[in-house]
């Protein structure tokens, strides 16, 4: 019984984590935290889009700026799709706008990582509370 709960609980945490990664705020939304979910979604998407607006989609560069890309992909797997299109270097990104764009998109990704961890932690707490009583 406990083993089954453990298995279901791990699966639940995994689903919440994946949801939170696929769409910023979706993990919290799945847990019924709608206000948090909306705030997280709007803030992270706005930050990411601002970064793209300032520096162009060329700031997502998985070849030249690999470490920035690792942080950017925390926003959503959709960033990998964008990265596929920008990999050839067809979109210009240079100078100060490139720096600002990279910082914005990467910070948005790291903020989403914080939200993923928070959503999984909340899900874990709720799971243990339910199991405990």
């Amino acid at each position: 019984m406990a083993e089954r709960w453990e298995k279901n609980h791990t699966l639940f945490l995994l689903i919440v984590g994946l949801l939170a990664w696929f769409v910023p705020g979706a993990g919290h939304f799945a847990l019924g935290e709608k206000k948090r979910a909306i705030i997280i979604f709007v803030t992270i998407v706005a930050t990411f889009c601002t970064g793209l607006y300032i520096g162009s989609v060329g700031v997502i560069d998985r070849v030249v700026a690999w470490w920035w890309y690792v942080a950017q992909i925390m926003n959503s797997p959709m960033v990998a799709v964008l990265g596929h299109f920008t990999a050839g270097g067809g979109y210009p990104a240079y100078g100060r706008p490139n720096e600002i764009g990279q910082i914005y998109t990467s910070i948005a990704g790291l903020l989403n990582l914080l939200c993923i961890v928070n959503a999984v932690y909340l899900a874990h707490l709720r799971g243990t509370e339910t199991a405990g009583g």
Binding site: R96, P97, C115
Partner: protein, 98 residues
Amino acid sequence: MSIFYFLFSIYQISIVNSQLSITMATFTTPEKIGTTPASMLWLLPLAASITITYKATKLPTITARNFIKEVAMLFGSIVVFIIITALVLWALAWLITE
């Protein structure tokens, strides 16, 4: 009458398409931002974004008034700390170079 509606819908689609093209074009070319002291102001929206997300994950309950108050306090302290750091660095640079 149906031909009129058909032509009108094509006209609308072309307008939406051109608007979409303009919007997409702004995301494929970088903005013009020079390496000036004013470009440092771009850190303010980022600090606001960090503050909002952090407080959204940390507050036990979210009410509009409480959330805005907490965000304003944290954002203010971040900005004040940045200003103090900038002044200290500026003073150090001045001492070293003068």
